[in-house]
């Protein structure tokens, strides 16, 4: 079997995507604090921190923690590691200065500083001035390859290497289809029409995969399989438009007429879809949950760190190449079929 270089590249990139994307550990973080809602002003209080991928026990000596409220830091009087992922923190009596919530910081030599915003809510009213204590933070951290720990996302951040590139693959295939539609209208060569048709078919496969992975991600992070999100519904409509393209092709028998009509529809639909998923979601006020839309910051702005990028770019290229591989095979089968029918 002879594979051209880009197919090898596709295989290598996807193997890298799957191994690195699924095996690279998550950076340590704080999962939750228990109890997270209690009276803090009356007496010293103790909370238990549940970490993720942390090494509290082996770094017991350097373990320290503090709470933050209105720029005032209050250090824990004791920080005792119960296990690698559990620690017991005791704080002096505190009344909040501004908001009735404290941000929690935990630091040790191996994990660096772990932050959980609004970790502890207090039942006390805002009044007294809390004691201020100096904290010496050693911000040293073992630098190892890990994906960032993000609340709500947690391990599902790995879906970034599957969900997002699948849409890129679909859009690349649809763009290739439109390019071939234009080539067909200008030159009238049947092969361009077949290319466009098969690119749409392959693109639809990736659209379905994108919807499935997205739906799964939505269930994990937003709590529902299908959410009222303009980008989600926009892409669903895009799929409908391309299914309509397939239906239209089925409705016309004459080959040349079919090629021409479907090319016209495909170009028209592609432009409208660009507006639907490219322009409108960015303008709308607050009806999208996606990064970069509906007033949300774009992914890259603060949380697409270099470790994620190292896999993400490879994943994008890999999935797009796979898309074109699928398209290429379908196109060649189609050509063979055409040859058999005309022979």
């Amino acid at each position: 079997m002879k594979l051209s270089w880009w197919k090898w590249a596709c295989v290598v990139l996807l193997i890298y995507t799957f191994t690195a994307g699924l095996l690279v550990p998550m950076a340590p973080g704080i999962l939750r604090v228990s109890p997270d809602n209690l009276s803090t002003a009356a007496a010293p209080f103790t909370v238990k921190v549940h970490g993720y991928n942390t090494r509290f026990l082996s770094n017991q000596n350097s373990l320290q923690a503090w709470l933050l409220n209105d720029k005032t830091q209050v250090a824990a009087t004791t920080a005792k590691a119960l296990s690698e992922t559990e620690a017991e923190l005791t704080f002096p009596a505190l009344a909040p200065l501004q908001k009735p919530v404290f941000d929690l910081f935990v630091n040790d030599d191996a994990d660096g500083t772990l932050v959980m915003a609004s970790a502890i809510a207090t039942t006390d009213s805002i009044s007294a001035i809390s004691p201020v204590s100096k904290i010496s933070v050693k911000n040293e951290k073992e630098d190892y390859f890990a994906f960032p720990f993000q609340h709500i996302l947690y391990e599902s951040i790995r879906n970034l290497f599957f969900h997002v590139p699948m849409w890129f693959a679909m859009i690349a295939l649809m763009a290739w289809a439109v390019f071939n539609n234009i080539r067909y209208l200008r030159g009238g060569q049947q092969k361009h029409d077949l290319m466009a048709a098969e690119a749409v078919n392959a693109g639809l496969v990736f659209g379905v995969l994108g919807l499935l992975t997205g739906s799964l991600w939505a269930r994990v992070t937003w709590g529902s399989w299908w959410v009222d999100d303009i980008k989600l519904n926009g892409t669903a409509i895009t799929m409908l438009a391309y299914m309509a393209y397939v239906v239209l092709r089925g409705a016309v028998d004459d080959e040349q007429k079919r090629a021409r009509i479907s090319a016209v529809y495909s170009i028209f639909a592609f432009v409208m879809m660009l507006v639907l998923i490219g322009v409108l979601p960015r303008l709308s006020g607050n009806d999208s949950l996606h990064p970069g839309n509906g007033g949300n910051p774009a992914f890259g702005q603060y949380d697409l760190d270099s470790h994620l990028r190292a896999v993400f770019y490879a994943a994008c290229l890999g999935w797009i190449l796979l898309g074109f591989w699928v398209y290429n095979l379908r196109y060649r089968i189609r050509l063979l079929n055409e040859k058999i029918h005309h022979a």
Binding site: L240, A244, L248, I261, L283
Partner: protein, 231 residues
């Protein structure tokens, strides 16, 4: 590229042809008034169905969406006729007489007018029978006019495509709805702002999108129709 040909060959002659073909459309419609009144009756009947199913619609978003869904279906029915009603022989005759694009533009112009009339009548009936919670009537009317032009323009090209593929009403909806959605979304947003009376500032962006989409639709129709009309 495609665009250059379009601009180079779009001579003033096409405009003159468009206008005379537009007059022809009006004349044919006048002779077959039952078709126009049929669509009008469809709108009025749907409004009464809404009245009986919803009673009074007080929530502005629901009212607004309902109104535009009625107009959406009305536009499919009204515009679907534009290529379907002509025999292929007569269309061919027209294409030999004038630039094919002039035929399309005349139909586009005529459908826009038809949709504006339908939209205004629909609004009057819908307002009287169901409810009229619009705070900013001038803005709403402007959105209505632009929106009706947009719906008509989009469905004109779609009807040209559908007429080539066997003139099936279902096909027209299947092809048209996904494509018209960006337009409809902008229209619904703008008209909701008009109904809420939140001022022209917020709606201006959506009106801009509707106008831009109208321009895109007309340009694409002009670019693509030359490849479509031949059999």
């Amino acid at each position: 590229m495609l665009g250059c040909e379009f601009v180079l060959t779009l001579r003033p002659m096409v405009l003159a042809q468009t206008l005379s073909l537009f007059r022809r459309e009006l004349l044919t419609e006048q002779r077959r008034r039952y078709a126009f009144f049929g669509v009008l009756l469809y709108v009025v009947a749907t409004v009464f169905v809404s009245r009986y199913s919803f009673r009074v619609v007080r929530e502005v978003p629901v009212w607004n969406a309902l109104f535009w869904i009625i107009l959406l279906f009305a536009s499919v029915i009204a515009v679907a006729r534009s290529f379907a009603q002509e025999s292929s022989g007569r269309l061919l005759y027209l294409y030999t007489l004038a630039d094919p694009r002039a035929v399309l533009f005349a139909k586009l112009l005529y459908n826009s007018l038809l949709m504006i009339v339908l939209g205004l009548t629909g609004l009057a009936v819908f307002g009287i029978v169901v409810n009229y919670p619009v705070a900013d009537t001038p803005l709403f009317l402007l959105t209505l006019v632009l929106g009706c032009m947009g719906l008509a323009g989009t469905f004109t090209l779609i009807s040209a495509i559908a007429s080539k593929a066997g003139n099936n009403f279902a096909l027209m909806s299947v092809l048209g709805f996904p494509v018209v959605l960006p337009m409809l979304l902008a229209i619904i947003r703008a008209s909701k702002m008009a109904a809420d009376g939140t001022g022209w500032d917020g709606a201006a962006m959506y009106l801009g999108i509707i106008i831009a989409l109208n321009v895109i639709v007309v340009t694409l129709s002009g670019l693509l129709f030359p490849y479509l009309w031949r059999d």
